[in-house]
């Protein structure tokens, strides 16, 4: 099934063509997913536990490469370029990732955490450039005012919500093309969740965001387009409005109405 949301002047930043991911040769966690994602949109990947949402997301930045037993096939184009032909380190710089649990680097200060991407890539910056990157990134995630006086403290001393915003700042400091978010609010309280959701809507202006969520109302609140996955298959991919009002597939409807989940 070709999953393309047609609008005028479409510019796809991500194109997934027959993407399959197998943990063992017999068991495919994701099967033949085709989807195109437009620039500066928020795309939510929904579905019940174990349907392959996170597995699909992690294929986009080639994180599966770390585990030799996992086989990824198909084609993923990032700005028209096949990511499997690119250097994985470059792919990961272009597709930043935010994880389920906030994971600031425990030995680094808040300042160094934001700059971690530059350090790990051996990109040298002048002191003024470093200060600018840190301030801009922390301002983008609305954390600057909260931490500017304790910027040299360890990132792990922040609250869970602040840590997650720090992790987003760390990911966007490298100015990626796409921001992949793997259930970024599932470990957070409702207030922190709200702040992250507001942040996602603001970040949309500059980044293309793909977010995995098991929270349907979250997908409804923040995403432009939604994918519904079930048992490794992409069942439906449409605008969020369309999917939540008139789902085309019975399984999507059943999931959205709580028949299963």
């Amino acid at each position: 099934m070709e999953n393309t949301i047609n609008t005028n002047n479409d510019k796809y930043i991500l194109e997934l063509k027959n993407v399959s991911v197998a943990y063992t040769p017999e068991k495919k966690a994701v099967e033949d997913v085709c989807a195109n994602i437009r620039e500066n949109t928020v795309t939510a990947i929904m579905g019940p536990s174990g349907c392959g949402k996170s597995t699909l997301l992690r294929a986009i930045n080639r994180l599966h490469d770390l585990y030799p037993e996992i086989q990824t096939t198909g084609e993923i184009l990032l700005k028209g370029e096949d990511i499997f032909k690119m250097n994985p380190m470059k792919v990961r710089r272009l597709a930043g990732m935010v994880f389920q649990r906030p994971n600031p680097f425990p030995t680094m200060s808040i300042y160094d955490n934001v700059l971690a991407g530059y350090k790990l890539n051996n990109i040298k910056l002048s002191k003024s450039d470093r200060d600018e990157v840190v301030e801009n990134s922390l301002r983008s995630v609305a954390l600057w005012d909260e931490v500017k006086d304790s910027i040299s403290k360890k990132g792990t001393f922040l609250s869970g919500g602040q840590q997650q915003r720090l992790c987003i700042a760390r990911a966007i400091a490298l100015k990626p093309e796409v921001l992949l978010m793997d259930e970024p609010t599932s470990a957070l309280d409702p207030i922190s969740t709200n702040r992250i959701e507001d942040l996602i809507l603001e970040l949309k202006e500059h980044y293309t965001i793909v977010i995995v969520t098991h929270n349907m109302s979250q997908a409804a609140r923040i995403s432009d387009n939604s994918m519904f996955m079930y048992l490794g298959h992409l069942v439906e991919y449409d605008t969020t409005k369309q999917m939540f009002t008139k789902p085309k597939d019975k399984r999507t409807e059943d999931y959205l109405t709580g028949v299963f989940g």
Binding site: N61, M89, R92, M97, F105
Partner: protein
């Protein structure tokens, strides 16, 4: 019926209390040897505990005998032993820590590989090899070809004994780190080596440091491998190719000479305090630097 249930529950309470007291009593018993050892060493060793212990080299049998006749404390100290122990430990640290840490990283990063399993079992076997056997092997490998006993040979034998502990503690400390830390580093585009060196190793540093310190304290008092590798020396020696002394070797020498016997207790006391000190320091470091 009611009575039976009541008495049975009382019996169980009694049994549970008895078990608790038995556990406490046996835990108390384990502390007795340590306290007895410290008490005995303090009682017998304090007489010789003075500044010259740290500033003078070990006395000869003749000096000790003359002092004994004139009823004076034995002159001299164990400076040659202290410096020798430091020199040998420095050599073993330089040799064992980089190798041990690199091996530990390999094992933590490739936990299931056949090569890892082989290294792990060999490292466990190495830990079980008697120290005198390690000494004899190093004698054949280093002392004989160099035609001389040396601090280097002693350092190598202690390094071999330290390796398994450093490997294991590095592997365990790295395994304790959440997988997301490594993924987060790689997801930022970092190369594998930079993620290991800049994120994983610093995060596991407290474990690595503590493990290394415990390994050092474990080999610090080794005597058997040093007997056949460094031999001993009556002067302070900083040349790694020359025979040198060590605190544990001096204890052995003092033990074998009735005139010098009183020094056995003082040297043992010092060695014990050094080992205990390193252990306590390692525990405090591991608590203080523990990653949140």
């Amino acid at each position: 019926m009611k009575k039976t249930i009541f008495s049975s529950s009382k019996y169980r309470q009694y049994k549970s209390k008895l078990f608790f007291y038995a556990v406490c009593a046996f835990s108390g018993i384990t502390m007795i040897p340590l306290f007895l050892i410290i008490w005995e060493l303090l009682k017998k060793g304090y007489k010789q505990l003075n500044l010259s212990l740290f500033t003078e080299v070990s006395p000869t049998s003749m000096d000790a005998m003359l002092a004994k006749i004139s009823n004076e404390p034995i002159p001299g100290g164990i400076l040659n032993g202290i410096t020798g122990t430091l020199l040998i430990l420095a050599i073993s640290i330089i040799l064992a820590i980089p190798v041990g840490i690199c091996t530990g990283i390999y094992l933590a990063e490739n936990p299931k590989g056949a090569f890892s399993k082989l290294i792990r079992s060999l490292s466990d076997l190495l830990q079980g090899i008697p120290s005198i056997v390690v000494g004899i092997i190093v004698y054949a490998w280093v002392v004989k070809p160099m035609y001389s006993y040396s601090a280097l040979a002693g350092g190598i034998s202690l390094a071999i004994m330290m390796l398994p502990m450093i490997i294991r503690s590095t592997e365990e400390s790295l395994k304790m780190l959440p997988a997301s830390l490594k993924e987060a580093g790689l997801a930022l585009g970092g190369s594998y080596s930079s993620v290991v060196l800049r994120i994983l190793l610093p995060s596991a540093f407290s474990g690595l440091f503590t493990g290394s310190l415990l390994a050092i304290s474990r080999v610090m008092g080794e005597t058997a491998p040093l007997l056949v590798t460094v031999l001993g020396a009556s002067v302070v020696n900083w040349d790694i190719t020359h025979p040198t002394s060590a605190i544990s070797l001096l204890i052995w020498e003092f033990y074998n000479d009735p005139n010098l016997a009183p020094l056995v207790w003082t040297s043992s006391l010092l060695l014990l305090f050094l080992v205990l000190g390193i252990n306590i320091f390692a525990k405090r470091i591991s608590k203080k630097w523990k990653i949140q």
